[in-house]
């Protein structure tokens, strides 16, 4: 069985500080990390691999990403934690992609990887919050999609069954492979790399592909392939009308206690 985990490099902190005086973004040396939701997806993939390996079914876990060349280091870290292969789609031509263009690029990458039985994605990326890649990828592959998986119940060569969150609770559903699953972050905790893993990652190569190598239709990638575009970004205005509570800490506390009591009464 071939399992592909789609991962995205995101800033390690998602909150960008604003300089209140100049109203501009305060940049610091923000390191990139694997989107925490995708990290959970990787752990689920590795757990499937562990179980199937014990049962004697060969299983391969491949991490796939689209990003800048530095993302290779993060993919290598995924190998240190147990992934077998990594493929990075990296090219200036991919830059500026919205979810549709990203989906197309990832679908091209999946085709490059050959037969894929299961695609695992984080439910969403912490820096974008759109939660669109999983369902869009399923649509473009004509595969079934189970979103917001809470626990994987069973997987075999033909089908997968999982509990997933719905608007009214949870539901156990089953569908045939190939399928796309998206997972919530608290479902599992990504394992740590072992010493053995660190050295296999040192020896491994992170494969890379340019746009020309994978994308059959260059008009569908990057900025040009993105139907949506940002026309304006701005700092939201905030009204400053709060009544200031002054005094010593004890006086402030007493006043707040009174306000709360009044409001709840």
């Amino acid at each position: 069985m071939n399992i592909v985990v789609c991962v995205k490099a995101v800033p390690s902190t998602t909150e960008v500080k604003m300089d209140p005086k100049t109203n501009t973004i305060v940049r610091d040396g923000r390191a990139s990390v694997v989107n925490p939701f995708d990290a959970t997806a990787l752990e689920i993939a590795l757990q499937i691999k562990d179980e199937r390996t014990v049962a004697g079914f060969p299983t391969t876990v491949i991490v796939l990403s689209m990003g800048i060349p530095a993302t290779q280091e993060l993919l290598r870290d995924c190998i240190a934690r147990g992934a077998d292969r990594a493929l990075l789609l990296t090219d200036r031509a991919f830059a500026g992609a919205d979810t549709l263009a990203t989906t197309y690029a990832l679908a091209c990458g999946l085709r490059e990887l050959g037969t894929v039985d299961l695609v695992l994605c984080g439910k969403m990326a912490v820096d974008g919050d759109t939660a669109q890649i999983g369902p869009e990828l399923a649509g473009s592959l004509e595969a079934s999609c189970i979103t917001d998986v809470r626990s994987l119940v069973r997987i075999d060569d033909a089908s997968v069954a999982a509990w997933h969150a719905t608007d009214e609770g949870t539901e156990l559903i089953e569908t045939d492979l190939p399928a796309v699953l998206t997972v919530s972050k608290d479902v599992a905790q990504l394992r740590m790399p072992s010493i053995a893993g660190v050295f296999s990652a040192e020896r491994a190569t992170c494969e890379t592909c340019s746009a020309a190598e994978v994308a059959t239709d260059p008009s569908r990638i990057g900025l040009a392939g993105s139907p949506t575009q940002v026309v304006r970004s701005f700092v939201p205005e905030r009204a400053a009308s709060a009544q200031v509570i002054e005094g010593t800490m004890d006086e402030q506390a007493a006043r707040v206690a009174a306000l709360i009591e009044e409001a709840v009464r």
Binding site: E15, T24, T175, A239
Partner: protein, 398 residues
């Protein structure tokens, strides 16, 4: 070639664009005696620099612009109307129909609600309610295959109709199902989709939908358009728009349609577990919300104690959940729970807009933060500038 271009006649090398960029995507370079802005490989074409430039020197160009469609042949605003397991249309559908009505009146077009119901729902008045809220037409399909919210079935149904009837806009509630369905439709129709919009405006002449949503962790708002592809699609969280009062006398048509026989569910439901009825922060009357300003996980028990003393539930911001200080059900904000307590005591919360999006329903907000410029004070009714841990101790002692 698509990309970011700097007009070197207009650029004076002031560096405002560099400061505005969150990605190190633009830098200043010397060429002879003059400095110019120039995009780097890290540019993601977000447009922040375009807006920051007072000289209109920066532009983002896209070629191959057209999505191959004649946008003028698209018309009307569709609203997907999700129905609960009990067969009732969700409030968010009514809210969206209400907003769509306002936009349609500007544009001079129709509002069409798309309603899927299970077989044997003949007695339902969902269509009438949607008309009362402002729909001109309800496209209704009653079919056993629509009884369960199966993304693929719904997506294929909606895509089939959208290809025939060419709506200009489709809006979805950003529910669990809506957030699954909308991208499934978007990829099949090869069009754009903007998630979790907080503002929607429609240009009366061009029909261009201005979709505004929080970006960069909520410290920036981004306005997004989809110029060359149709339909333009957006999802909106429940509660963002007010539900219209509803006019039962409004006239509208109900068009019953059949579901293509070729659409067969591929997903089998094995079991269903309804959500528990445990007390949630969403319906607490008094809520203490803590943020990173509490400094240390070790302060969480103190905050629990304070909440207990005040008879309040305890909520928190997303970073605390990410750090493992509290569990997800405590998270308040756009990706957590929206809350509406009578009083909300906010301790050490800076106030990212995604958090603020979740506390708009609070009647009274008392915010405590060390930083007098914290954005939380912008929405608070009462402001205490203090160390929130010390303050919590003082409040416990009252």
């Amino acid at each position: 070639m698509s990309g970011l271009t700097v007009d070197r006649e207009a650029c004076i090398g002031c560096g405002r664009c560099v400061r505005a960029c969150a990605n190190a995507g633009i830098e200043l370079v010397w060429e002879g005696p003059r400095k110019f802005a120039q995009a780097t490989d890290a540019c993601v074409f977000c447009g922040s620099c375009v807006d920051a430039c007072p000289f209109d020197a920066i532009s983002i160009n896209k070629d191959g612009g057209s999505g191959g469609v004649d946008v003028s042949t698209f018309h009307d605003i569709w609203v997907f109307a999700q129905v609960t397991a009990d067969g009732c249309v969700l409030p968010v559908a009514c809210e969206l129909v209400g907003r769509a009505r306002e936009l349609a009146d500007v544009r001079g077009c129709h509002v069409v609600a798309v309603l899927g119901e299970g077989a044997g729902t003949a007695g339902s008045d969902n269509a009438e309610r949607l008309i009362a809220c402002g729909a001109d037409e309800v496209i209704r399909c009653r079919d056993a295959r629509l009884e369960r919210l199966d993304t693929e079935v719904y997506a294929r149904w909606i895509c089939g109709m959208a290809r025939d009837r060419r709506p200009e806009v489709i809006l979805y509630g950003a529910t669990a199902f809506g957030r699954e369905l909308a991208p499934a439709v978007a990829v099949r129709l090869q069009t754009g989709l903007t998630a979790d919009c907080t503002v929607l405006e429609l240009d009366s002449a061009t029909g261009l939908l201005q979709q505004t949503r929080p970006a960069f962790g909520g410290n920036l708002m981004a306005t997004i358009v989809c110029p060359d592809h149709r339909p333009q699609m957006a999802s909106v969280r429940p509660g963002v728009f007010a539900a219209p009062a509803g006019d039962p006398t409004r006239a509208g048509t109900v068009t019953d349609v059949a579901l293509d026989a070729g659409i067969v569910p591929r997903v089998r439901v094995l079991a269903v577990e309804p959500a528990g009825a445990a007390a949630t922060i969403a319906d607490a009357a008094c809520l203490v919300v803590i943020g990173r300003g509490i400094g240390d996980k070790k302060q969480v028990p103190l905050m629990r104690e304070l909440a207990a003393k005040l008879g309040a539930e305890l909520g928190c911001t997303r970073p605390l959940v990410e750090a493992g200080w509290l569990e997800y059900p405590h998270q308040v904000g756009q990706t957590g729970a929206s809350v509406a307590p009578r009083v909300l005591l906010s301790l050490g919360v800076s106030g990212a807009i995604q958090h603020l999006a979740g506390i708009g329903g609070a009647q009274t907000i008392i915010a405590v933060n060390e930083d007098p410029d914290a954005p939380i004070f912008g929405v608070a009714h009462y402001k205490v500038v203090a160390d929130c841990v010390d303050f919590a101790r003082a409040l416990l002692a009252t």
